[in-house]
């Protein structure tokens, strides 16, 4: 049976890893390649690197960083942040990325999913959806959750799947950074209705939260940042605890 995946997420600005609460108040936590290598050695199943640089120079630094990651890291890694064209995706593929994660660009130009999947395969395209519950409706947002769009989570996730996404990365912006757990029933409904894997993100504060989203929530993978970056839950501890609960985990 395919194992549930544990995925540390590293936000990178100008080559350095940062992580913020609710995407604000960023704190620097270390060198991106070293930190990724450490997580890989500890048993991380994949890594996600998100470029949060605001400048062109930052973008160039990130592409060089992707090459360094590919040289050093021996597990799959996804890169995201500011990918808005086939050329961006091609540049990151060439640098050695295994997958790209697209978010607001896919909402602006849904055809980008078809285009990237058509050129590089479904496995290369992760569609990230940051959604919040607004008036009882799960609404996809952009700009770190601050701008609602006209897209609804479920219909958008299904459209992304039809267009060729290989995975969905769903973050509840209502839960992200709170460490109070995931919206488990929403995950269960989403994962149960899609045929592609779903990565759960945003809200994990304990081993129990992660176990819950991987079992009751039916998620295929759990992504987290601060609990790993600040050493609150070491990956080996997490994986041993999940395995002890009978969850299929690579150890």
């Amino acid at each position: 049976m395919v194992a549930k995946r544990i995925i540390p997420c590293l936000d990178v600005r100008d080559g350095k890893t940062v992580k913020g609460v609710h995407f604000l108040d960023l704190r620097e936590v270390g060198d991106a390649v070293d930190l990724g290598a450490k997580y890989a050695a500890e048993g991380a199943d994949e890594l996600v690197y998100l470029d949060i640089s605001a400048t062109l120079e930052g973008r160039k630094t990130f592409t060089r960083l992707v090459s360094s990651i590919s040289e050093r890291i021996d597990i799959p890694f996804t890169v995201g942040g500011g990918i808005s064209s086939l050329a961006d995706a091609a540049r990151l593929l060439e640098a050695g990325a295994d997958k790209v994660s697209i978010n607001s660009a896919a909402i602006r130009t849904p055809g980008l999913i078809d285009e990237i999947a058509g050129h590089f395969g479904n496995q290369f395209v992760v569609v990230a959806i940051d959604a919040r519950k607004i008036g009882g409706r799960w609404t996809a947002t952009t700009h770190g959750g601050s701008r609602p769009t006209d897209r609804e989570l479920f219909s958008w996730a299904h459209e992304a799947q039809e267009r060729g996404a290989g995975e969905i990365l769903f973050t509840s912006m209502d839960h992200d950074g709170t460490k109070r757990g995931y919206p488990v029933p929403t995950f269960a409904a989403l994962c149960g209705s899609l045929t592609i894997p779903v990565i759960a993100s945003g809200g994990a504060g304990s081993i129990g939260d992660i176990a819950e989203v991987l079992t009751e929530g039916k998620a295929d993978a759990a992504l987290a940042a601060s609990i790993f970056h600040y050493g609150e839950i070491p990956i080996p501890t997490l994986k041993a605890a999940l395995a002890a609960r009978g969850i299929a985990i690579r150890q």
């Binding site: 199943d45 590089f120 395969g121 045929t195």
Partner: protein, 195 residues
């Protein structure tokens, strides 16, 4: 000299990087017949659509060159699938080394397609897996699979059992990505390089 076959088949960077990490010096990325023939080992990577990969190989005349190779050849993922008899992906005729067909996973119940992530290796029966235990996890990402057949040297399961690896004569194939499978994958690559 280790050669990696150069053709339109997606991401070869990670294969080259993994080979470098094995400490065997710089692998050569090439489509040249003389270099492929002279290589001690040849790796056939592959990502994306198998029928497109086959078309690209044939257009470059690489099918004939690969079939004539006498030293160990390792096809990875789509590189393995195109060495099979045929594939449902684009209904293409394969190179016919491994005596099995490649089919698409059929949706059923909670089965996710693509099969993506870490899954086990079992029924290991080849020096390619020296030093590895039954149940070792390796990384897979694919929507098509090769049936179990007499050439199967490791199996795994995703809804149904299928070939995790194949071997016939000097040809080897892995459905998983050893270059992305951490220390276990590195061991498999080193085992292949020391065949």
């Amino acid at each position: 000299m280790i050669a990696v076959v150069e053709y339109e088949a997606g991401n070869v960077r990670s294969v080259l990087n993994a080979l470098r990490r094995c400490g065997i010096g710089d692998p050569v990325l090439t489509a040249r017949e003389d270099l492929l023939k002279a290589a001690d080992k040849v790796i056939l990577p592959g990502v994306g659509d198998a029928s497109v990969a086959l078309e690209s190989l044939r257009r470059a005349g690489l099918d004939r060159i690969i079939l004539a190779l006498e030293r160990p050849v390792l096809g990875i993922c789509v590189g393995m699938q195109i060495l099979c008899e045929r594939t449902e992906e684009g209904n293409a005729e394969g190179l016919g080394i491994f005596r099995t067909a490649v089919r698409r996973f059929r949706p059923s119940g909670d089965l996710k397609i693509p099969h993506m992530g870490w899954n086990t290796l079992s029924a290991l029966q080849n020096p390619l897996f020296d030093g590895l235990e039954e149940g070792t996890y390796v990384y897979y990402v694919h929507s098509y699979y090769a049936d179990i057949c007499p050439d199967t040297i490791a199996r795994t399961e995703h809804g149904i059992p299928f070939s995790a690896a194949l071997c016939r004569g000097n040809f080897f194939g892995t459905q998983f990505h050893p270059e992305k499978s951490g220390p276990a994958g590195a061991r498999i690559l080193r085992n292949f390089l020391s065949l």
